[in-house]
Symmetry: C2
Subunit: 238 residues, 2 copies
DNA sequence: TAGGGTTAAATTGCATGCAACGCAGCGAGG
DNA sequence: CCTCGCTGCGTTGCATGCAATTTAACCCTA
């Protein structure tokens, strides 16, 4: 029951500002707002049926969190993602998440260990069939995010968690399991499993190393898809 | 002159919100606001002679940036620093700043190289005399901060810079050169110099390694001072 | 027709008033 | 004596109106 309390307070924010904050984030993630599109205070206030004040405050917060950029006397607009941004995020993840795996290995509690295993098992089951449906891929993406999140939390470094939330969650976490072929998917699941094994073995460097491999593999897949867009000179099959 | 433009715009913010934001930050850093102290919107609005609106917006921003913590319907208060926080910050710096040194080594421009050298030379000169005055120590602290900042900027990873600004600047960067004895001070200055040498030599791992040593030495000095405070069982002179 | 200046519309920035919420102090009941 | 509930005060949360600023269109002029 301890878990229920924060869950309720986060999914049903009591203040209007928090609701607007949540709503805008959802719209950005779902693509309702295009990159570089300005978000107008008045129109959003009308749509959400609140005054401009909570909208303004939510926008300020989202700017500080990196979702929007504010131009004085001009407004707030959705940040546009470039390949450079993707590079920066991967550079940071490649250093921070292995570190988190290392620390988690030393600090992990039994309860957290259980949650991680449950997530890993569920993901393995979903990626078992030869053809993984889009719905399954979507669920895997969510579970995968939870797995990483849980592991980072287990590192017992609140700032590390905050930093990764800011850096990663504003990026293209979602829907990027679509480009995983079956082998890559299963390899990714095996990585999760191996991290748990390293934790059980009490080897922080092992866990750290597997996480590093895990992310390098993910980056490779990402670049395979995105590079053609910035290197049109290369001959591409797809 | 390129440096003058952003300097002006940051020291003379045009909007009231930015002014309040700046003012509060200064008060926190200067110790005007004690840890856990609540900042009341009305009183601050009176003092700064603005309405509550820009004060509220500035407070929201500072919460997002980690300077304050907000309790709904209760207010915003200055975050209290614990030894745990210090540990977390050092853990992150130990990973991120060496990474920045490594990257900077590959990306550094000539102009940036010049600025770093100028800062290093100035710091060396200030730490030369046998007895370093408090004023000199203060200037060294500022120059040191600029040096690290410049190096991180040179890493050409905007997110890395943002993350370190958030993590480090809210911490006790300032005035912690007081506990450096003369040997530690000169060692620290030599580290800066050696980082420049590593850059000139084009060896990222060398630069990374020196930065790592640099921070480990700083952590050691920090712990030597702070540990007695959380271990009251130890017999203390003070 | 091109360029500069002016003006008007739209939007953000700020001020103020009122409502909602939390908390301390006080009093009644067990 | 302790506990529970109520009430009053202070503070934050939100709504609304007005001022300041920017943008863009328009007209006038060369």
């Amino acid at each position: 029951m301890l878990k229920a309390a924060p869950k309720v307070s986060s999914s049903i924010p009591r203040t209007a500002t928090a609701q607007v904050h949540h709503a805008i984030k959802q719209r950005i993630l779902s693509g309702d707002y295009q990159p570089d599109e300005y978000i107008r205070e008045s129109s959003l206030a009308r749509e959400l049926e609140v005054s401009r004040t909570p909208v303004r405050e939510a926008l300020r917060e989202l700017v500080s969190e990196g979702w929007l950029e504010a131009i004085p006397h001009q407004g707030a607009r959705v940040v546009a993602w470039t390949e450079r941004d993707a590079r920066e995020v991967f550079q940071l993840r490649l250093v921070l998440e292995p570190m988190a795996a290392n620390l988690a290995c030393q600090k992990l509690t039994a309860a957290c260990r259980e949650r991680l295993e449950a997530l890993a098992i569920r993901m393995e089951a979903l990626s078992e069939p030869d053809s993984v449906s889009p719905e399954a891929r979507n669920e895997i993406a969510i579970l995968n995010h939870d797995f990483h999140r849980e592991l980072i939390l287990a590192s017992d470094n609140q700032r590390l968690f905050n930093v990764l939330e800011m850096v990663v969650r504003t990026s293209i976490i979602r829907r990027n399991f679509d480009q995983y072929d079956h082998k890559a998917l299963q390899r990714s699941m095996r990585h999760h499993r191996e991290i748990l094994q390293a934790i059980d073995a009490g080897s922080p460097t092992w866990a750290e190393s597997v996480m590093y491999s895990h992310l390098l593999a993910a980056r490779d897949l990402h670049e395979a898809v995105s590079e053609p867009m910035i290197r049109p000179s290369m001959h591409q099959a797809t």
